[in-house]
């Protein structure tokens, strides 16, 4: 019989062996510089400061948490990581009362508007936004000119973490011609490629294109090769796995599902090159997905429906990318008897492990154009509200 020590050895090695070589997610270091400090030992008297510093740190954490829970900020906006690896900034598309959509750069914790950005003429509004992995650069789609067949120009919007200033510059990607609408954008984890989902305006079928962010060259293109032109469903949101080869796209395949496209596989058939993920019938997830960087699971916010479509609650959770089944629920709220005017929210950002989410739990109505009810961070089983503006139509972290 093995000794207890041997049993501990073999058991711990067995569970450690479930972590395959090479399976570590990519390291996400803070974007800012590492603090510089002259090497050398800390002076002896400085050790007396440790208890006081610890007390101050505890006080700061408590105050910061309280402020965060009140949605009034309190966490630093200066360069440096936020708790849980939350990105510091996000870009939002804000619908002005007069119609056009401007872009705003905001801080995640306080919601403070760093800049409001209008597209340069002849473009008249922004229609889509995506974040890059560095947490302070975004991609925007500007459309125009007004009163004529619209074309789309893609831009990079950069935030200077040191000053909070922003700068808009054209990407070298060719203009998206008229008759095509950019429906979704997603930047690859290494920041070098941009996936663009295109919705046709005429007798065309949806397309998904992959561009080099540096040269603007079109690298790949996939299309829907079956079905009646003009009647095929369009791609909604997209997100990348950390491997840079799996692109999740929201596509109402077989009702309540999504698809994972292997961008390295040869061929141009979008669905043929994709693995379909079928979700449980009780949750409408199709347009409310994001993929964790690990690519194993899909994190999602959803509303729960019964047979008649009544909304009975919402949740934020992870779903298996293989089976579509719920494997972890972060937060769940039920509405006994149903809630007739509650629409599905969305997950805007997920930490590499999927355990920390930035999400809008719900919309004020069932239509896709209804405003989101709010914004918050899901961590553990807690929901921490963040400042939100009801005029925000789209956002990207």
């Amino acid at each position: 019989m093995n000794t207890l020590e041997d049993r501990v050895r073999t058991a711990t090695q067995a569970i450690a062996g479930t972590v395959a070589p090479g399976s570590a997610p990519p390291l996400r270091l803070p974007a800012g510089p590492a603090p510089r400090r002259a090497p050398g030992r800390i002076r002896r008297w400085a050790h007396w400061l440790t208890p006081a510093a610890a007390a101050l740190a505890v006080t700061a954490v408590v105050l910061g948490t309280l402020a965060l829970q009140r949605g009034q900020g309190g966490l630093p906006d200066s360069p440096g990581p936020l708790p849980g690896g939350l990105p510091r900034y996000y870009a939002a598309l804000v619908q002005e009362p007069s119609g056009p959509w401007w872009a705003q750069v905001r801080t995640t914790v306080t919601g403070k508007v760093l800049a409001t950005v209008r597209p340069p003429l002849p473009y008249t509004r922004f229609s889509e936004v995506a974040a890059t992995p560095d947490d302070h650069t975004f991609v925007l789609a500007g459309i125009g000119p007004q009163g004529q067949p619209s074309v789309t120009q893609l831009y990079a919007l950069r935030v200077n973490p040191a000053t909070g200033g922003v700068r808009l510059s054209r990407l070298p990607i060719p203009l998206i011609p008229e008759r095509w609408r950019v429906n979704a954008l997603a930047v690859s984890p290494d920041g070098t490629r941009l996936a663009v989902a295109l919705e046709p305006g005429g007798a065309q079928r949806p397309r998904l294109q992959l561009y080099s962010m540096t040269s603007g060259a079109r690298l790949r293109e996939w299309g829907v090769n079956t079905g009646r032109p003009g009647a095929a469903p369009v791609v909604g949101f997209m997100s990348w796995a950390a491997d840079g080869r799996t692109l999740e796209y929201s596509y109402p395949v077989r009702g309540n599902g999504a698809a994972l496209l292997d961008v390295t596989r040869p061929g141009t058939n979008l669905l043929g090159n994709s693995t379909i993920v079928q979700f449980p019938k009780w949750a409408d997830l199709t347009y409310n997905l994001t993929m964790t960087a690990g690519g194993r699971l899909i994190a999602s916010a959803a509303y729960i429906t019964r047979g008649n479509g009544t909304v009975t609650g919402w949740l934020a959770g992870e779903f298996s990318a293989r089976t579509g089944k719920a494997v972890h629920v972060f937060y769940r709220r039920s509405f006994p008897g149903g809630h007739p005017s509650f629409g599905p929210g969305t997950v805007w950002w997920a930490s590499p492990s999927g355990r920390v989410l930035i999400a809008s739990p719900a919309r004020h109505g069932l239509g896709p154009d209804q405003a989101y009810t709010g914004l918050g961070v899901f961590t553990g089983h807690r929901y921490i509200p963040l400042p939100w503006n009801g005029r925000i139509a789209e956002a990207a972290w």
Binding site: P81, R118, R167, M213
Partner: protein
């Protein structure tokens, strides 16, 4: 910035604020970034394994390791000897595991029945090992964090007592007594596991 975003962009538009590329200096000490990234490449899997042994939960283990390396990066300039970086980050992983265990314990106590339909990742990981291992790991999870840590460092990492003491921030004598008590408790718990 983790990757090039658009170095080829034209930069011709000035609709925003007139800032120039000069305002976007090099992000700073690439040596620290490169050194920490290289250390991560070499040791991330081993440290995730250590964390999953401690936590039994892959996503939580990855988060702890990620945080530990971010902490190392932030404090890189304060390291007397970069050769000690691995020891530093291993201690940070263990500290992170302790914090995570405390948090998980609090969450388990406060979880509402409504929130409990999930099958956790830890269950998925445990499903990959056999019943004997599950029994031992289940008992290990019920030990206090310090006792669990002592056993993991001693029997999983095979560290000598002085190094365990350094990692745990205690004396070698405390390591001996903690390990002894942990083994005794584990023996009792393993007996209880059906």
């Amino acid at each position: 910035m983790r990757g090039p975003v658009a170095p080829g962009s034209t930069g011709a538009d000035s609709a925003v604020s007139g800032h120039t590329d000069a305002e976007y200096p090099d992000p700073g000490p690439q040596d620290a970034r490169q050194a920490v990234s290289a250390l991560y490449e070499a040791h991330a899997v081993g440290l995730i394994r250590l964390a999953i042994v401690m936590l039994g939960d892959r996503p939580a283990a990855e988060d702890v390791v990620q945080e530990a390396f971010c902490g190392l990066y932030r404090r890189w300039g304060q390291l007397d000897d970069p050769g000690k970086a691995l020891g530093y980050v291993r201690s940070a992983v263990l500290n992170g595991c302790r914090s995570a265990l405390r948090r998980l314990s609090r969450e388990a106590r406060s979880a509402q029945p409504d929130e409990s339909l999930e099958t956790s990742e830890s269950a998925e990981a445990l499903a990959l090992v056999n019943a004997e291992h599950r029994a031992v790991l289940g008992a290990l999870r019920r030990l206090p964090a310090r006792q669990r840590e002592a056993l993991v460092l001693r029997f999983y990492l095979d560290l000598p007592e002085p190094e365990i003491a350094r990692s745990m921030g205690v004396s070698p004598g405390t390591v001996k007594s903690t390990t002894s008590r942990a083994l005794a408790a584990l023996g009792r718990l393993v007996q209880e596991v059906p």
